[in-house]
Amino acid sequence: MYASRWYDRATMWWTFFQISINERLVYRLDFVIGTLMRFLPTMTQIFLWWAIFDSISTPGSADSVAGPDGEIAGFSFGDMIAYYLLVIISRAFSSMPGLTTGIANQVRNGEVKKFLIQPVDMLGCLLVQRIAHKLVYYLIASLPFALVFWMAGSFFVNGWPPADVTFVFVVSLLLSFLLGFYLEACIGLISFWFLEVTSLTFIYMLLTFLLSGHMFPLELLPARPIDLRGFVEFLPFQYLAYFPAAVFLGKVQGPGMWNGLATEVIWVLTFMLLSRVLWKRGIKRYSGFGG
């Protein structure tokens, strides 16, 4: 009896997964274009750092920012380029375009009722759907990604990292997917209380840009007068972009690396739990307020 029920649920999610993939493939052209556009902002950042490193290596210029070997905050030019390319990968896992606004819209226009009426879980649906979308994305994006990384191979000065580092890198990427999902799901679920969450989404986006390492490596954050560098260690954002890249490049090593991974797990569990609580409270409020 229970076995068959598990089997039913499993086939349901599997069907949902297939259908999500089919749905995504309807818009494949839109997807290909979106994938290629992802590289554009990174290109401008690379040119910027090119100019910066160029100027600090020029004799006679003020070299106070640069370290002894033309490094900035421990990053050589090659490291910097490699970092930005790796951050694209992190973000390919952790960014969730449309998740918050999607949830908010469903709450506002009443589509969320479906999940009260049918015996199916909304967060589960969104997660499976997101996995499907990401897989389709990787499928399409793998070719341009491979091309860019092959061209930029010389910037990865240390080559491919050892097995344990590779392992942590891969696991931290998978966790960053879950973290991004549950974090944004939580923000979306706030729409049960405030119908409009656009401004919250905007704040979240800004914070992620600055504090996740999306814009620049977190090593560049100041330690004085306010210890921003130390502060981000207590926030979940760095796991969305910085952490996997830093692990790959050997910027976080040994016990620090494993501690980071454990902290990431805790953050994932925290937001997983929080999203459940918000959902429970949210629908309670929703059904109290006339649907």
């Binding site: 009260l116 009426i117 015996p119 199916v120 059904s287 109290g288 006339g290």
Partner: protein, 350 residues
Amino acid sequence: MPESIISQMSIIEIKNLTKSYRVYQKQEGMMASIRGLFRREYREVHAVRDISLNVEPGEFVAFLGPNGAGKTTTLKLLSGVINPDSGACQVMGYVPWERENEYRRRFALVMGQKNQLWWDLPAAESFRLNQHIYAVPVVDFNRTRDELCDMLDVTHLLGQPVRELSLGERMKMELIAALLHSPDVLFLDEPTIGLDVVAQHKIQQFLKAYQEDRKSTIVLTSHYMKDIQALCQRVIIIAQGAIYHDGSLDEIVDRFSGDKIVTLQIGGPDEAFEGLRALPNVIEVEPPRIKFRVGRDDVAKTLSDILSTHAVEDIVVEDPPLEEVIAKVFTDAQDAKSLGEFGTSAAEAR
């Protein structure tokens, strides 16, 4: 709960169900908007007041009422989307707003305007997903789907993305999606809204045939008297959140309309016809025919008077059109409300 117990009691039991909610009152103008930032004014809407009713298995019941009367709120309560302020309700022995999966597998709610199909995919995909959501065995699923598609004549559209279907076709697909798990209880909120006459008729026919075949219990809300006339033995008129009438359609006409409409066709000279124009409550004169309204009790006397003085070729005596009666009922309900018959309403704006 064992089937035997359920079959002995009403399939739907509602007792003193009450639900009100607050809506934000926004005044016109910018100053009012700014004031609204600091102090919000709310108005209490009594969507459902103290409703009690029972529905027996196999009944086809209509909720009828003007916009905002509480029909949809009642359906939402029954399907567990919202919970009440007070009162009790059981459907098949379950309390809807506890939202147990066992309950949710046994009913369906179709909201005319809301779309539960996947927009970009063929309906067949949505159906397949529903099969698994409700864990319908594949044999049953195939049989039910083919039967329903056949009845609604949409088999050839199964492979087309839903967004390319017409409104009527989409509504048919919505219905099929809702019925694939053979729900024991079906709630339909405005199933024919916005559809053309042909599609409306088709869906009426389908619902009628489906209900006769499966003996399922169906509760429907609608504005269209045609829907209700074609389908429901029992009509519950809801106005201002309360039940105003519960009975058959014929009873409504008997209870709320004291008039009959008489149409006469007069033979003979025109002068004789002219005399009839003086009758009270003439609706339409189109020689040699005249149509007029007569109090129910006066029909016999009026007719015999006319028959004795005129050469009448044809007589039709009928009830006034249902729309007209219902409109009157709604207005009466409104008046009754303003007289305070519904209790707390005077203190509504707070």
